[in-house]
Symmetry: D2
Subunit: 345 residues, 4 copies
């Protein structure tokens, strides 16, 4: 059994991590840290954990946590993570960081979207934790920057088409729709039930930070710079992201042609599913699971490819992917603790 700890245990990603880690057969939870709720039981914040045998929430002591843990998950605001990670690494722990702080190879790009990076020298040690693109590097990493939720959904939807040159990379449009848990647990008027219920809105149009992360990774895949439109929307559901992605085909393709490209790219991947039957994914098909599901329609009339990619923002878009990264870092079976099937209902 490996010892794992979670810092930022009372946020939504933290709580989901703990839910999943609780039933992971190869780990035991050593510490749960929360600066806002230290001294309480986790069940005081999330009563679903009543009667679980979890450690009490404690004030984060990075040295102690680092020493006591094989892996520490930091589910903290950006900038805060960058301060927590160095002492954790120094104490000998591996770290999977769920903030944006270790997702960029270039501190200048980080600076453009988040402000100056607090620990730029660490960036070269961090690996971008998208196993489908960086599996090998993750296996040997001590620090993994776990990808954003929108990012994972968008990159996985596009990567095969980009690598194969199926689409015009100057004309990509990603229209993404996310459940509210992606916005975090903070009580703001924007997230009041009465503001979200029976509503949909676009936000941060042409200005969402995840754009830069998607562009970084797809540029790597393409081997040339890619800039694209990314528009997030908030929908009245708890979980799930659906990205509808509009591309112009460089040459005519059939559904089967595209299938061949995607099948080849994702061969053997345990957490990416293709809609072999021509159907399209919906968030109900994946919520609760660590699956990213991808389908598409070829619009012959306009010679466009419309991709639809769906995942659960709290699992494949956050906690599940973090555990996948941990499994790889520890040399465990990749799918260990992550085999839950989606709850359709």
């Amino acid at each position: 059994m490996y010892s794992v700890s979670v810092i930022g245990a009372t946020g939504y990603a933290g709580a989901e991590l703990i839910r999943l880690l609780s039933s992971h057969p190869r780990v035991r939870i050593a510490h749960l840290a929360s600066s806002s709720a230290a001294g309480q039981a986790l069940s005081a914040v999330y009563p679903s954990f009543l009667s679980s045998r979890l450690p009490e929430l404690e004030t984060p002591d990075y040295d102690l946590l680092g020493r006591d843990s094989d892996v520490v998950f930091t589910a903290l605001p950006h900038k805060v993570s960058a301060q927590a990670v160095p002492p954790l690494l120094a104490a000998g722990a591996r770290v999977v960081d769920l903030s944006a702080d270790f997702r960029y190879s270039d501190a200048a790009i980080y600076a453009q979207w988040y402000g100056a990076h607090p620990a730029p020298s660490l960036l070269s040690r961090a690996v971008y934790g998208l196993p489908e693109l960086h599996r090998e590097a993750i296996c040997g990493a001590q620090l993994v920057g776990n990808p954003g939720c929108y990012t994972t959904c968008s990159i996985l939807g596009l990567a095969p088409a980009v690598r194969a040159g199926l689409i015009d990379t100057d004309r990509i449009v990603i229209d993404a729709k996310s459940g509210v848990s992606g916005a975090g647990a903070s009580a703001t008027r924007d997230l009041h039930f009465c503001e979200v219920d029976e509503n949909i809105k676009a936000y941060k149009v042409a200005a969402h930070r995840h754009t830069s992360e998607i562009e970084q990774e797809l540029s790597l895949v393409a081997g040339k710079p890619i800039a694209l439109s990314f528009t997030p929307h908030l929908i009245p559901v708890k979980r799930g992201i659906l990205a509808t992605i509009y591309c112009e085909l460089t040459e005519p393709q059939s559904h089967a042609d595209v299938m061949a490209v995607y099948r080849n790219f994702y061969e053997g991947e345990p957490f990416v599913t293709l809609c072999e039957d021509g159907s399209l994914p919906e968030i109900k098909h994946v919520n609760g699971s660590n699956e990213c599901r991808i389908g598409w329609v070829v619009d012959r009339r306009l010679s466009r490819l419309i991709l639809v990619s769906a995942l659960d923002n709290l699992v494949k878009g956050a906690a599940g992917q973090a555990i996948h990264n941990m499994n790889l870092m520890l040399g465990l079976e990749e799918t260990e603790g992550l085999t839950h099937r989606a709850w359709y209902l």
Copy 2:
């Protein structure tokens, strides 16, 4: 045209008042006051008001508002209202107060549930603004304490049965379910979309303040003290209250017997509807309207009467009833500005 003003314009009850007053044919809105958003347009808080010709939000100046307005609506927290009302009255305005501050005839009962009353001497001048019980007094009032939402729904459901002696008044159980707007616009974690969505909870069991208000009014109706169980629940809808009310019959009654009692009690009432066909009200049947709808089932097996009462907490339970009170105070047609039919969808 009468001049009306709203203090507390940016809360949910305030916003609904303004929406309804905007289309009232006999009033013009003189002032909108909000201490938190003074200087802004109302549409900055509620974009649905974009392109309306409403006055800008201003810091409440009670003397000015009182002088400039025939009627002022105070949609403020309790205790704050009690301080705003005296200068408004002194300046010559009539006041409809939507807080709890002027709903009690007995300052001691208020004190028990809300703490010491800040202006107990005013209580004797205030009329409880439930037109179905106190129409005449409201017509002559300068100050009306607008009833609570749960209260209105519960009292209207029970009053005829209580007055007619149909039920054992020692055994009343009110199980009420409310939409989230009843909890107000404050951003608290409890009201975060992810906490309310796909959930239901009972809260303040045997301890909700509206209990005392219901008991006060039903005791008046009965001519003897009544104490009862009132349990509120929060459900994932924006608007609407449904109260399911359990009573023991003192003698056997048929559905038609009960109908005769209720029909007689509510004869001529414009805003109470009875389910003549034996159906039961749902919140969809009344949301958006100023209607309280009441139905029931006589359980002959157990000799019980189960009443169901439904209303829109923001209209008949707050803003609509406040306008009804205003209409009465100003001698206008009762239904003026309040004839909107429920939106079923």
Copy 3:
């Protein structure tokens, strides 16, 4: 007072028409027809109409309805409408048809998407009922084909940019999200609460019939053929459509440049609102009203224009627009009966 009748009274568009017509100051409802519920009160299907003084539902007798009505609204399935309309016109009534049957000038295009047209000779007499584009023709029309909901939202969002040549008309992408009432009242498993709740899905990708309607009208506006991507999504709300529209600018433009074009195009239009302050519309901002609200972001980095257009599919997207058309056909004040402000909550 004009006499109006509704055929197809028990569908969602029919019910909304009746709700709005009930409070229209210049009409009285003569007949309500429904082949499925004839002989019942409307309140048997929509209990919100309890205690209204509406005529009983009757089997549609087109001659009778045509003779008795100044205007008949046909809210019927396509193909059925085309059979109902000729006798109504023959009997002397004006008709606003809410199906697709009279929206196309070219029977061949209709045939491509809906199958052979049952009454192609009538198409030349029908006017496309989008007042912002065809006001004059509507005023003199005896038959109006009321636009689709997605269509209205998309066309109004794009028309000014298209007419002014701001955008590359070969590269338009419309990503639309609709509430469930747009899918109608039929009980299908797809629309079961448990299938829709906590879900979002794209459907009829590159294959939705409204595409052809949008293309017809925007081609007219552009003076050249336009083909575009239109992707509808179903979201778990009752009402409202939000269209996010991606365009490539032909030349650099600022937000104010675009504003000048849109302001000029919609000057004096009572039911189109522009987000003057740079905000973006949400469906909460317009639900319940006959307003289409439009905002946009200019993405200078990519030289794209991202438009967001929102309306209530049952009002501006169906019943409200139908009444607007009626007002124009009868020479009434355009906004009569349509001044309801959106319910934010």
Copy 4:
């Protein structure tokens, strides 16, 4: 590994059974039968099962299924189950039936609520599958009638108080609220998203079939006949039941007094949790788990006990409890395959 089969695989309870059985470590799924979807993959109905290795749906052949299975789950409409069960038993399988057909010891009571029983002679062989009350009998049973969802929630909430004589059994009121999956997957207008969303309704007041089941079991617990009020409500959530239960105390009790009674009653029960801290359960606290959680408030003012009981209608109220019964019948560890913690989000 035991072989298990599910008949009625495409209903909501069937789908949930399959989801849970898929990850049960001691069983393999032999057959999935559905008369409506035979020949299809389960993923054609529930796309969340895409890429699972489940047998194809087949027309139910009771002899074959009975021979091939150690346990068969029948998730069929009542009356249909009673016909399926005899051949399954004859072929040697154990059966857990999720319909009402084997929940009653007295065919006359069944007849009163469901019509004449098709196989009354089997009733004496069936055990009521509520492990907390009938564990021993379940262990030796070949046929278990799996309890209703409302029933499980209500009985578990009340049983300790009834057995201990804490409450007046002539005055019990159960006000229950259920998610929509409890009403099944049939496409009826009542369950259309637009009818359920933003609504709550009481239904089958004083007439719901589960009343008889609750009364049967609580009468057994009390050792005397109990008749009570049970009112179900439909709320706009997918899953979960919350029962608020009103009782009159026979003698004064403190919260701790009641706790002692409940703790004693449920000692060692793996799937019943008590709110030790005085909190109350919400459906979010249990959805996704096989837990029934119970809390209460003692109202000293009125000498009443208000109990709140919550469970997931698809798990503890159906599929999870069915698997619990299977575990007992097969002599497996009780909690095998049922240790999932609730998903709070």
